[in-house]
Every structure is written in C-alpha cells, then in structure tokens.
Amino acid sequence: MEHLRWLRKDGKWRINFMIGAGLFLLAALLSVIGCFYTPYDPNEMNSAMKNAAPSFQHLFGTDSFGRDVFSRVLKGSRTTFLVGLAVVSIGAVGGTLVGAFTGYFGGKLDLILMRVNDALAAIPSILLALVFVGAFGSGTLQLVLALGLLFIPSFARVVRSGFLVQKEYDYVKNARLMGAGQLRIMFVHILPNTKGSLLSALAIGFNNAVLSEAAMSYLSLGVQPPEPSLGRMLSEAQPYLIRAPWSAIAPGMMILVCVLGVGLMSIEGGEKHD
C-alpha cells in the first residue's frame, strides 16, 4: 500500500497528520449524520427545558430556546462546512483563473487584475458582504457569493506565483514547439505542477472560510435563523456564556476540531506534492 508507506517519514509515523485526519473525519462524520438523523428536531423549542445542563437526554444540554444543542451542532456543522466548501471552491476556481492568466500572460492584464486584487484585499470583508446582502437580500447563498469573491485574491496570488515560475521551464517551450495551444499549455501542462501550493492554499482557505462564516453570522449577516449554523449558534450563546457555557462551547469546539484537523493535514499534504 504505497500510501501507507508515505505515512511513515524518516522512521517516524506522521503523528500529526493522523491526528488531523482523525479530527477531520470525526467532524465530517458528525455533519453527515446531521443530514439524516438528529436526536431531536433542531428547531423544536421547549420552554420547560431552557438552558438545561448537558445530560443523557441532551448530550450538549439545551440553549436559551430550549432546543437540543447537540442536534443543532449536527445540523449547524453541515451548513457551516457546506458554506466553507462552497466558498473555498469559488475562491479556488476564480483565483486559479485570475492567477493563471495574470501569471502566464503578464503585461497590462497582470497589472490591472493585480491592482483590483489588492483593492479587494484592502476593503474590509463585512462591507463587501453587506453589498451582496444589500443587493440580493440576506441568506446563505448571498453569503457564499460574497465570501467566495473575497477569497479569490489570496488564491490568485498563490496560482500566479506558481505560473510565473513554471512558465520559464523548458517543458513549456517544448509544449509550444509541439503545437499545444496557450490554454492547453496553461491548464493541462502548467496547472498540475502548481498542485502542491494550491492544495495547502485550499486547506488554509477552507479554514478561513469556516472561520469567516462564523464571524459573518456573529454580525448576523450569514445564515438566517432559525436555521442553525455554528457561527450563528456562537453569537446567540454569547449572553448566556456564564450560566449556560455549553451552548457556546459546543459549536466553538466543533469549529476548532474541524479547522484543526484540516490544518494538521495541510502540513503534510503540502509536502507530499512539492
């Protein structure tokens, strides 16, 4: 099993990668379960059981509306991770396109696009998110589009630097001699060689996407209630931090577990391909 061999490096098991993979699988498993089964209906309220402490009945206790925190975390992580995935893929696809063209062709196109990139990076993310929400109404889709747009500059920069280096290599000249078209050279020949840096950028991108979904919901721009998202649950739980900390700690931990898992995997992942 060639992959198993890779798990050992310099005579030591890659512990961190395995911890990371374990955490990520745990988070992914929970959110997948969330799609089909939750012990209680995540939105079902029960005023008698407000802010109940964690018990067998309610693994993570209940929140200020008497809703089961464990079910909400399951459903919420599904929403948050889907948003994370969607945002990071928009960012990656958009970033790759922008990065490829600016890196490969350079010249005026490079100058203009890079300036727009810097401008986008300088503008605070909540303003742009607001523009989207203002223009298209608030909701998960608008949030995904807004954040996706914001993630394009960072990916573009990674891909562009990759292309700047690769396009000087002889195999690109060879490809041109063989009559391959510009687009084919860019996306069939050069792109696979930037896979290493793109992969680690994807991992970091996913983490930032999950964290910014949480921040956006904190400023009540993201997912609309009563639909649970980890960020929304955190912001709703803040006033009850002292009396019912579990309703804040549970979503917080879920974010931590997933982001830490992806982070640990990204260290090794990056190395594998460079």
């Binding site: 300036r115 810097d118 300088a122 503008i123 909540i126 607001l130 203002g134 955190l234 917080g252 982001v259």
Partner: protein, 313 residues
Amino acid sequence: MRYWVKKTAALLVTLLVAAFLTFLAFEVIPSDAAMTKLGLDATEEEIQALREQLGLNRPLPLRYLSFLADAVRGDFGNSTQYGRSVGELLGGRMPVTLGLAFYSFFLIVAVSLPLGILSARKHGSHGNGGFALLTQLMMAVPPFFLGMILTLVFGIIFKVFTPGAYVPAGEDFFGFLGFMLFPALSVAIPKIGMTVRFLQNSLNEQLTADYVRTAKSKGCNRRRVLWGHVLRNALVPVVTFLSMVMAEILAGSIVIEQVFNLSGVGRLLAVSISHRDYPVVRAIILYATTVVILLNYLSDIACRMLDPRIRQI
C-alpha cells in the same frame, strides 16, 4: 529610483480602485442616510430636503469627483449620523484601534520570533512533534470565540481585568497595557500560530542552503550559523508576511472591538455601515487602504535593506 516611481503609481491605483469600489458599494446597498436619519414618521418632502442638503441627489459621477477632491484636501465632510466632522470622529477612535493593532503586532513579533527560531533548531522540519500541534491549535481558534472565553475566564472569574473599562494609554500606560492585553491576545494568538509556522518553514529552507555548509566549513558553530547567517536570509520573506498579517489585524479588529466593547474604528465602521453613514465609511476605507499601502512600502524598504539582490532592480 524608477522602481519607487512605479511602486507609488501602482499603490495609488490600488487606492483609487478601493475608493471606487466603496463608492459603488454604497450605490448598491438599498436605503440611504437621509431616510435613516429622519426615522419613522418623516414625510417625503423632509427626506428630499435633507437629501438635497447632503448633496445625495447630485448625479453619480459628480458626487464621486467631489468626494475625491475633498479627500485630497483631507476634508472628509460631516458624518450624517453624528453631525460632526469625520476627521474629529476618527481622531477620537484612532488611538484605540491603532493601540490594539500595534500591541497585538508587538505580541506577535515578540512571541513568534523566539518560538520560531527555538523550534526550527530543535524540531527540524515542521511536520511532527507537539510544537506543530500547538501552532495549528492556535491557528484554529475563531478569534471572537477566544475573545469570549478570555473575557469570561480573566474578566469575570479571575477578575484580572475589568471588561469594558478601557483605560486610554495617555492617562495610565500600564493600565492600558493591562486592559488591552486580552483583546490584543485574541487578535494575536491565531496570527502567532501562522507566523511561527511561516518562520519555521523559511528557516528550515535556509538551513539546507549551500552557504550554510560553507559557514560550517569555516568553523561556525550552530548558534553563529543560525544568528549570523541564516536568520537574516530567512527574515526577508517573513517581513512581507508580517505586513500582510498587519493588514489582517486591522480587518479583524471589527469583530474583536465588538466582543470587548472597545469603541475603535472597527466598531465605528460597523455602526456607520448599519446607519448608512457614507462619509464615515468611505473615510475609514480610505484610511484602512492607505495603512495597508504604507505597510507595503515599509515591508519593501525592509526587504531591500535585508537583501541586496533586490536593491539591484
């Protein structure tokens, strides 16, 4: 010399593009300052009268040009929300946000540099070991969640600092340091993880370079190799990275100021956006963009000083 001219031109273009994007943003966001100002039972004529006074009815290009003209003169007009000059408003807020930004930047540099160097020497590649786990953990914590926990633990339970009692640096510097430690930490901790990892990768890369072998062949011991040769080479990419981190700190301060009830520029921005106080918002955006651009300049100068090869362009 030519390099600097080109650099300034590029940065000015970024500034203009940022200003235009902000301007466009406000055209798209529905509702306007006049209606928000006059509230529920304002009549139609009153709203039009106020729009007239605030010059909101002028055609779009005209407004944009007048905005640019004012900005150049440093006059950002009056806030529709508070009726006071934007400059005065920002002036009051600036020390809080800048204090937070520089304090967390100081923490980041003071903590991650020694940690990065320490770990590079001991652990070799970043991959394994508890150290990598620690840095990843730091990067994984959502800042405002950290802020909440810090306030709860240190503010309420251990009463190390009193939440909300912002002590301006002017009055009592140590009080300021004491209070701001926790907001600064919640901004800094995720960034410390990133910087340590970045510094470690850069150091490890340099440690395998040929000139390190030459240095050892000259008789340098591990310490002299690290401090005399490798560190300076490794710092060049780190400086650019740190200028990027500083830009992120400024953006991140919006949420942290909310959690710690600091009335800084970040919170003013959040409030102004929700009140459609356009003059304040565009001033803050320009301020933020200029700060980011200045940082680019500084990191460029630092890079040129550190690495003679760049000087040559």
